[in-house]
Symmetry: C2
Subunit: 428 residues, 2 copies
Amino acid sequence: MIGCGTVGGGVARLLSEQGAEYARRLGRRVELRRVLVRRAERAVRESGLEASLVTQDVGAFFATPGLDVVVEVAGGVSEVGELVKRSLETGRSVVTANKALLAARGAELFALAKRRGVAVAFEASCGGGIPLVTATQFGMMANRIDDLYGILNGTCNFILTQMTRSGKSYGQALAEAQALGYAEADPAMDVSGRDAAQKLVVLASLAFGARLEESDVWCEGIDRLELADLRFGAELGYDIKLLAIAERRAGGLSLRVHPCFVPAESMIAQVHGSFNAVSLYGHAAGHIMCYGRGAGRMPTASAVVSDLLNVASGWYAKAFGGMNLWADGQARPVIMAAEELVCRYYIRLNALDRPGVMAKVAAVLGEAGVSLSGIIQHEASAGAFVPLAITTHDARQGDVLPALKRIEGLDVIEGRPVCIRIVEPPAG
Amino acid sequence: MIGCGTVGGGVARLLSEQGAEYARRLGRRVELRRVLVRRAERAVRESGLEASLVTQDVGAFFATPGLDVVVEVAGGVSEVGELVKRSLETGRSVVTANKALLAARGAELFALAKRRGVAVAFEASCGGGIPLVTATQFGMMANRIDDLYGILNGTCNFILTQMTRSGKSYGQALAEAQALGYAEADPAMDVSGRDAAQKLVVLASLAFGARLEESDVWCEGIDRLELADLRFGAELGYDIKLLAIAERRAGGLSLRVHPCFVPAESMIAQVHGSFNAVSLYGHAAGHIMCYGRGAGRMPTASAVVSDLLNVASGWYAKAFGGMNLWADGQARPVIMAAEELVCRYYIRLNALDRPGVMAKVAAVLGEAGVSLSGIIQHEASAGAFVPLAITTHDARQGDVLPALKRIEGLDVIEGRPVCIRIVEPPAG
């Protein structure tokens, strides 16, 4: 095993507590032979592992007798990527939880594994303990998948649930997530949507059989969401979720992560707190949703060890060899430009409370070809500016965003218009 | 392929429409070589298959050149069971959608397949297009699973949704299900819970690694549910679902199918209409739920063809060989007696509207050791009898049911008390 932090500790615990049961199921023992870490002394102290198991010496690690499979739970891309490469080059299959590594170097690593006749197993890289990769890769094999909508970051979903259900501000909810250990001290990877984008690259590569990269995903985080908009959304029948979306359309693949208003009664809106879920739409199977704990020590360890057992039982390498994911020579797909995205929009403006304002706003939207579907303006309390919430019919992002820039410039409007996309996953 | 009805037609369609794509993914072609049916002429007329593909002759079927895999979508147990046996005996792997066959003869067929070095694939036997078997068997491999709660019959869920949401009676909702093709002319297999019980045998065998039989499942259908109780349930914060439940407890395995009041905000309560879902609780992964279309031509065909492709790609037989399901020599588990089931109960009585009635009822329950948690009695409109809804704390079924018999005998009670179990799947 490379790394021995939160997830690594969980893996070690499962292998020690359930080792006999796993041996009974597999007909062979799976044992932790050596753990490679940066600081051996500290790892021994914190993990409780026997000192003889732990090493900082890369050479000693790869010389370990009986090292058949390398479990990578260290994280990071460049240094760990080289260790993963060396594992594959020396004929070891790799089990990894590292979505950043796969999003950046998946194609290279998969090709190397296939050349060497070994496998990369990566169930833990997306959705923690949810068997998403297994379900998509093997259980949906007969399907052409055209739509994928996922809640892939538990930190963001926890924050949004707290904002919606307890009326907390973004800052308060984030602080609570940090206090509970759901969010890192530096929450940027989570709240920017980048963590979800990396997972989307892995899952959409699998679902669409396409060679995708992180830069294919257009990304907007949750850190600028305001309670006022969540309340307007609720009034309109929507709940807020950070969705990772992959859609196959005539113009190409659309890959994006952004806050979405989803119908409050839709299945994906029922996913609360730190839970994750992914809705897939197969042309034959219809709508499938998998739900569960997307992070945390034991759920992620569950996925890592399940992969490890599937590799150890011998079938996975055979399945991997025939996998059409990040395959050598696969052409890069056409990625739809963000401007071409067509969806409904929620727009909130702070407008001067005087006659003619709505006419000006409507004129700008009309000229841009954006047609209105609904408007909410509550009886003004006091103050010159009142919030005005507008929903549109389907519109091109490339038409909506420039129109909002023009609206921002109107003298009757204060501040920057808020814009949240409305996404309605089919019931299916 | 054996059989060519609704699902068989879907399988033929997928293989013909997606054949080139499957060949690209697998590196080999999967072709429908021969279809065995009871009445060839009719099958050709109804399926549109070429006449040369269709035969009624069992000998000719098994003599088909290049017959590597047999897909069984005919249904039934004895006759089809012999054909499946013959397929395995002659070295063909079998893909089956037949839960009745597996619930009755799974152990025998699995043992035979293992002896012959071939495989039985059965994703389509439970939950239609939902990749439940794949997710449970491979994706949850590292887990000890102790709890499984499933909505496994779309017909019943459709009927219950219609009753709850549209206020239709059981009879009206059933008639609607029949008109829409969701329910058979003879709905007994569905509404009695037996279809769900057979699926539960397959899934729980897999999740618990135990050798189970249909007679291990205690079963109560939905055909006596009344709207009045669903309304009381809603008032108490519950939704009604027919759940297939498997729990591993100190006293043994509890396997049962019955109508349940579940908390309206729980994840399983969000499953409406003809959709199915299964919640599994892994000791490491925690709560996982898989949701989707549990029946229908194309969703079921999706599962059958996914299995077929996994068999054709070569890995599945290897995985099956190591599968610890219905294994030879596996001991039969201890099945908990229905009387030992402990849960909360909803009880509804028609009581004479006069002083002292509640005292009599409470006395009977108290003597049986059943403790009350809540009571609803609405202001009486007119009439001598008024409905009285009671909820209990956790109680033994073996204490509750005899107490209800005694209550039924009280002269202040009219008719048979209604009893619905309250089940609260952990958020997990």
